[in-house]
């Protein structure tokens, strides 16, 4: 972990416009919770909260936030060429990747879990028997996993954002609906599995299709694998093409 890199990355990621927009996105979550409180059926609070945090929170907010921070952590510098200042230093590539990953994951978790916690509390009127803390904790882990995947993606392709979106929408969205097997490799489903086991959520409200053990194994595999790929690609970073 390198403090200077961390600070620079933090300043890059949390630019005013970006932070504001993402807070706005999180605000939608809170808004919807508020609307439900005002106009929804009290009896359905728990299923609603589960759907809110599961679909809008884990399914929509978490991937979007992680995508922005994950692809921006090092992708922007690679694209405009400022990465060279970071790389022409006697710092191991592993340190660079890990530092940026941690910063991106922390920012993602903050801007995902914060609104989720608030929205969950409002909609369920409390912690809802572990539903809210479980979902929030799961989302923190999910943010880390997503960030690892997107950081690796940004070092592999120049259009990391589009490919990341394709992964979220097509793999996790479309295909997971059609083929149950793909769920095991979907960060969304892993997150829900973590949420379920951490929060101890009763079966009637919510049941994750993937077991907790599978989630831990696959999650670790994903995290370590993506990080290793990222480190490898950065170590072999080449600047090609003659300047005009």
């Amino acid at each position: 972990m390198n403090g200077v890199i961390a600070r620079i990355t933090l300043r890059q990621l949390l630019s005013r416009r970006r932070t504001l927009l993402l807070l706005l996105l999180g605000g939608v979550l809170v808004l919807v919770a508020g609307i439900f409180r005002l106009a929804g059926e009290e009896a359905r609070a728990l299923p609603f909260t589960s759907g809110l945090l599961g679909n809008l929170g884990v399914g929509t907010l978490m991937p979007l936030v992680a995508l922005i921070f994950g692809t921006g952590a090092i992708g922007a510098e690679i694209e405009d060429g400022t990465a060279i200042f970071l790389l022409a230093k006697p710092i191991s590539r592993r340190t660079i990747v890990l530092t940026k990953l941690v910063v991106a994951a922390a920012c993602s978790a903050a801007l995902t879990c914060g609104p989720m916690l608030l929205a969950g509390l409002i909609a369920a009127g409390g912690l809802a028997e572990g539903l809210v803390p479980g979902m929030v904790a799961g989302a923190a882990i999910g943010s880390l996993l997503y960030c690892a995947v997107f950081v690796a993606l940004s070092l592999v392709t120049g259009r990391a954002l589009v490919f990341g979106l394709a992964y979220v929408l097509i793999w996790e969205g479309l295909l997971a609906g059609l083929f149950a097997g793909t769920r095991t490799f979907s960060v969304r489903q892993l997150t829900l599995a973590f949420a379920d086991s951490i929060g101890g959520i009763p079966k009637e409200i919510f049941e994750a299709p993937v077991s907790a053990l599978t989630a831990v194994v696959i999650g670790t595999f994903l995290l370590v694998g993506a990080t290793l790929i990222a480190i490898r690609r950065l170590s072999a970073y080449e600047i090609s093409g003659e300047a005009a």
Partner: protein, 308 residues
């Protein structure tokens, strides 16, 4: 001089598929200022990127201080890099940028701040050092990059088109700075396609044409080695026409032209001609006022090499 400040290319080549960007180049640099000169697309940036460890040679070797430059982050302790691309972190001030680079080089915060201040002073960026780089002009951004490149007192400095965007005064100042640094024993390698810059700054020139090393060394020496091309002189004397006819009788003269009152003489043998001309003038009782070689500029050397 630091023994680690030696840059060596040995039969280094780099190709992309069918395109050969650098073709079997060998040279060794140990101290002094060396200029990479060549037309756009000749391979100068490719060579610089290979030395800087950002491109692997497809064959041959590129070493810095004896170690291969590729995948060797430790070597950056003694290399300072000033890249060509303009982009820098726009939200950092010049001072912060230099200090950040110093910190990343492993300096403690206090040490880094001091080094940054020194570097900013060297490039004369003190006035604007506390404004964000995003507000800088092109020349200022260039100077900020140079400050960041030498903040850790590297023994090797690599600069890619360093005078881009600088006004003449800034350029002179930068050249002065680089001369001083080289005199302290550093190895400086810079690339340019602008002849005047290289002529003025580089003690040694590496002329790169289409990926190949066309010539290396002091450019006046290179000119002297170009024996298949006649040297051209202009002469002013008390009787140009008589001198011209006398010179034409000499075997060392390849041609003489009297054009608009100016006598131009071409010769294949620079040495013999310069020895002979004074004797000829004396014998014919012609007073020689001026004898000027006219094509010893880097430009003529360069255009010759490029067209070869």
């Amino acid at each position: 001089m630091d023994p680690g400040a030696v840059v060596e290319l040995t039969n280094a080549s780099r190709w992309y598929g069918n395109v050969v960007a650098v073709n079997d180049i060998s040279f060794q640099l140990a101290g002094g200022v060396t200029g990479l000169l060549g037309p756009n697309g000749a391979g100068k940036s490719t060579i610089l990127h290979m030395v800087a460890g950002f491109l692997a040679p497809s064959s041959g070797s590129v070493t810095v201080g004896g170690e291969p430059s590729w995948r060797h982050p430790e070597m950056y302790r003694r290399i300072g890099l000033v890249p060509e691309r303009e982009a820098v972190y726009p939200f950092l001030t010049g001072r912060e940028f230099a200090a950040a680079n110093a910190r990343l080089q492993g300096m403690a915060p206090a040490e880094a701040a001091e080094a940054a201040a020194r570097a900013i002073g060297l490039v004369e960026l003190d006035d604007a050092a506390d404004r964000p780089i995003g507000t800088y002009s092109k020349g200022m951004r260039q100077r900020a990059k140079v400050a960041a490149g030498l903040v850790h007192d590297p023994s090797i400095l690599l600069l890619d088109e360093p005078f881009n965007g600088m006004d003449p005064r800034q350029r002179l100042h930068m050249m002065d700075l680089l001369h001083r640094m080289a005199a302290e024993g550093r190895t400086i390698l810079f690339s340019s396609h602008i002849l005047e810059e290289v002529e003025r700054l580089a003690g040694r020139v590496l002329v790169i044409v289409s990926g190949r090393l066309a010539a290396s060394g002091d450019f006046r020496e290179i000119r002297r080695l170009m024996t298949d091309r006649p040297h051209t002189f202009t002469l002013r004397s008390s009787d140009d026409r008589a001198l011209a006819s006398a010179l034409l009788a000499e075997s060392t003269t390849a041609g003489a032209a009297l054009d608009g009152g100016i006598l131009t003489v071409r010769t294949n043998d620079f040495g013999a001609f310069s020895r002979a001309v004074t004797g000829i003038a004396r014998r014919h009782q012609i007073r020689l006022h001026e004898l000027l070689p006219t094509d010893e500029s880097l430009e003529s050397v360069f255009s010759y090499l490029v067209r070869r």
